[in-house]
């Protein structure tokens, strides 16, 4: 798997500890690694070149902050520059300039437009809005039906003129309905198309003229490679995109395409899609994506989910733990209970930095079912309170007893202890991030490589 950028840089900077200024040689050595890391993450190679040049300009001759190593300083500049590219605007939609707000979804085939249309409708409903949706995809078989099914599931109104197969008429009809029936938002789903398909790009322009959208959301697949600049660039040139939705971020792609897209389109990402279900849509957060592209894992998502699932009591307990030296097997058990409530385990584990790449985790992944968690819990339950608080006392004979008590094997007990020790180590590096506000700062420090 991919090494994180800071790991890569550690090697480069081993010999440069005492430097107080970033010299040209230092910066160039770092930038070589940064270039590789970004290419591995699928950032377009021209965007990489431009980006690396900018970082170089910024970095050379900069004073190294006393608290940082030269490597950390460069990573920090990279991170800040990347954040700057994504803009400071918070994700989501800006307040509508008029009513009804008309959102036009566009993008390549299979990028996730229809799914995102449904997700957005749900998201807007949660915000107290009344959206209407319409499909103009008369090309892909059963695409109209797909949106209707999703809308019905969500109790969202869908405009379905039976037998009407003209995309423009369908869109215009929906707008009239929205105006007459008091919907405050209309979302227009469109057929996927290639940016070089003139005929279909013209159709898109005709739909745009018919509904005069307030928002034009370009839906891009997070797994996209180098081609992202061409497709996004051409859609933007012809249609003037106002926002980007990055889908399928629930996988393990590094998502460098996001940087390419934002680089050519020049507008921030509005939302990210993180699963197939209608609830899997989140307003974009730049820090998360930056740490992902740089190989730092999606720590913030993990924290948020953990927080949502953790009951108040265990959250308070976690908040008390300052340095995690006193993180015990009892806490571990609490965490497991939390994890069980957090949803698909592999999804959660994939977000922990470093975990996605752990080979042994991959091998174990198939076994990571809820039953496995029950077994772990049984093992911990078979320990004495003293053992749970201090795992160091767990010698061979105690482990044998615990295995017998929990109906497992000694190897299972050993594995649980190993997992516990790993988790403890990880928590230590993550700092007290689970304790709310200060957490983000801590995380940022970690991203800086400390």
């Amino acid at each position: 798997m991919f090494d994180s950028l800071s790991n890569r840089l550690q090697g480069v900077f081993k010999s440069l500890r005492g430097e107080t200024r970033l010299t040209e040689a230092t910066v160039d050595a770092a930038l070589r690694e940064i270039r590789l890391a970004l290419l591995e993450a699928d950032v377009n190679f021209r965007v990489v070149k431009a980006f690396v040049d900018r970082v170089r300009e910024k970095a050379i001759d900069q004073e190294v902050l006393r608290s940082l190593t030269p490597g950390q300083q460069v990573v920090r500049i990279v991170r800040d520059e990347m954040l700057a590219m994504f803009g400071t605007a918070a994700g989501g939609l800006t307040p509508a300039s008029r009513t009804p707000r008309v959102i036009l979804m566009l993008g390549l085939q299979g990028s996730g437009k229809t799914t995102t249309t449904a997700k957005l409708a749900r998201w807007l409903t949660k915000q107290g809005k009344h959206p209407l949706v319409v499909s103009t995809d008369v090309r892909r078989p059963a695409a109209i039906e797909q949106l209707s099914v999703l809308a019905r599931q969500l109790s969202v109104r869908v405009h379905e003129p039976a037998g009407e197969m003209d995309p423009v008429t369908r869109a215009a009809g929906a707008l009239a309905l929205a105006k007459n029936s008091g919907f405050d938002t209309l979302i227009v789903d469109t057929a996927g198309r290639l940016h070089i398909d003139d005929e279909l790009m013209q159709e898109l322009a005709a739909i745009r003229s018919a509904v005069d959208p307030t928002d034009l959301l370009y839906v891009a697949d997070a797994m996209t490679g180098q081609d992202a600049v061409k497709s996004a660039g051409e859609f933007h040139r012809q249609m003037t995109v106002t926002g980007v939705v990055l889908t399928k971020t629930d996988g393990d792609a590094r998502g460098g395409a996001a940087l390419s897209v934002v680089g050519v389109v020049g507008v921030p990402i509005a939302f990210v899609g993180s699963g197939e279900r209608p609830e899997d849509l989140e307003p974009f957060q730049a820090e998360r994506l930056v740490s992902r592209v740089l190989g730092m894992g999606d720590v913030l998502s993990l924290i948020e989910r953990a927080e949502a699932a953790m009951d108040d009591e265990s959250r308070a307990k976690m908040a008390e733990k300052k340095d995690f030296n006193d993180f015990s097997l009892e806490d571990f058990r609490d965490q497991l209970r939390t994890i069980k409530k957090m949803g698909p385990l592999e999804q959660v584990l994939g977000m922990i930095p470093g975990m996605g790449g752990l080979k042994q985790l991959n091998e174990q992944r198939a076994n990571m079912d809820p039953k496995q968690l029950d077994r772990v819990e049984a093992i911990i339950n078979s320990m004495t309170p003293g053992e749970r608080r201090n795992h160091a006392v767990l010698n061979g004979s105690r482990r044998k007893r615990i295995a017998r008590g929990s109906g497992t094997k000694v190897e299972d007990v050993n594995r649980v202890l190993k997992q516990f020790v790993e988790m403890r180590k990880m928590l230590k590096t993550m700092g007290a991030m689970t304790s709310g506000r200060g957490g983000r700062q801590k995380l940022m420090q970690m991203l800086r490589g400390r």
Binding site: M1, L36, L39, E40, A41, D42, N44, F45, L108, Q109, G110, S111, G112, R139, R140, P141, A142, A143, E145, Q146, L147, S148, V149, L150, Q153, L194, H195, I196, D198, D221, M223, T224, G225, Q226, D227, A228, K230, S231, G233, E234, R237, K248, D250, G251, D252, A253, R254, G256, A257, E276, P344, L345, E346, Q347, G350, G356, R365, A366, M368, D369
Partner: protein, 308 residues
């Protein structure tokens, strides 16, 4: 049948001209490749080829391996041709699985979300039928909204019958029914469409494993082919997908779709290199006959053709 290359060229001729001057890369590229002295010229064209390969999503590790192989082998002729030869060698090292004559032959189609699985099933049904085979389709995507309806339309277009179940049904049980039906109806080929799944979702990958087990119980040796559908726009994650679907899903070949766009799907070169997975078919459009058997020569040519 017209080659992939000529089809793509024909489709692009109209747009290429208008777009060509739009991107600044042309100018940059021309400036870069201005030859100075003898040695510098080679270096420049090497870096140019590196850019072309990386820009086509071949990925750095595979690009470096290819360039190294070319440099060590030496030889005469234009660098680009030697690189092309090396890529052809990579593909030659990944031969397709043989048809051992078992009937029904089971072809399982898998991949992450939205890559073109269902469309490819429709196109394959059509292709196999044209080749004189009798085909049955199984709709094992019981998850995505209207996925079965989508496949049913394709089945009708290809004039092939389809075994389907209720939305939300266990995909393995539909596959079981389809395997039984394929035997009873004495079909040559059973094509199975599956739901899109990310390789990182262990439970969904386990579901795939179950499908394989169920079909092999009915038809020994099945599935004979497990084709991973890759979208040509995919980046380096394509390699991760291939690795995972190969180890869990038994993938033994690729379908590379959406090559009618500007993306080259170069990660398939890295996949052939590292995993020895052959590209079996390519998708070049949304019509039923827009699927053609893979041809390495055409592909290598297209790889080096800057369509923009």
């Amino acid at each position: 049948m017209s080659s992939f290359f000529s089809r793509v060229r024909a489709g692009l001729a109209k747009t290429a001209a208008q777009i060509r001057d739009r991107l600044t890369d042309r100018g940059d590229r021309a400036a870069e490749s201005t030859p100075d002295a003898g040695g510098a010229r080679t270096a420049t064209s090497l870096s140019e080829i590196e850019d072309a390969l990386v820009g086509a999503d071949v990925g750095l590790p595979a690009t470096e391996r290819i360039l190294l192989a070319v440099k060590t082998a030496g030889g005469t002729g234009a660098l680009r041709d030697r690189v092309g030869d090396e890529i052809r060698r990579v593909f030659a090292g990944a031969p397709p699985p043989l048809d051992n004559g078992t009937r029904p032959r089971v072809v399982l189609i898998v991949g992450v979300n939205g890559t073109g699985k269902t469309t490819s099933v429709g196109k394959l049904a059509n292709l196999f039928k044209q080749q004189g085979h009798s085909v049955l389709i199984c709709a094992a995507d019981t998850f995505r909204a209207a996925a079965v309806e989508q496949l049913a339309v394709w089945a009708e277009r290809a004039d092939v019958d389809v075994i389907r179940a209720q939305h939300g049904a266990d995909p393995a049980s539909v596959v079981h029914d389809a395997a039984v039906a394929a035997k009873a109806r004495q079909r040559d080929i059973l094509l199975i469409d599956t739901a899109g799944r990310l390789h990182t979702r262990a439970n969904l990958m386990a579901e795939l494993d179950k499908i394989r087990r169920v079909v092999s119980r009915e038809i020994p040796g099945a599935p004979h082919e497990v084709l991973l559908v890759l979208d040509a726009t995919v980046g380096q994650n394509g390699l991760v997908q291939a690795r995972e679907f190969m180890s869990v899903g038994g993938v033994n070949g690729l379908i590379l779709t959406k090559l009618d766009g500007t993306a080259k799907g170069g990660v398939a070169v890295a996949i052939a290199h590292e995993l020895k997975l052959p590209i079996r078919f390519i998708g070049v459009g949304e019509a039923i006959d827009d699927l053609v058997p893979f041809d390495a020569d055409d592909y290598v040519k297209a790889l080096f053709t800057d369509q923009w």
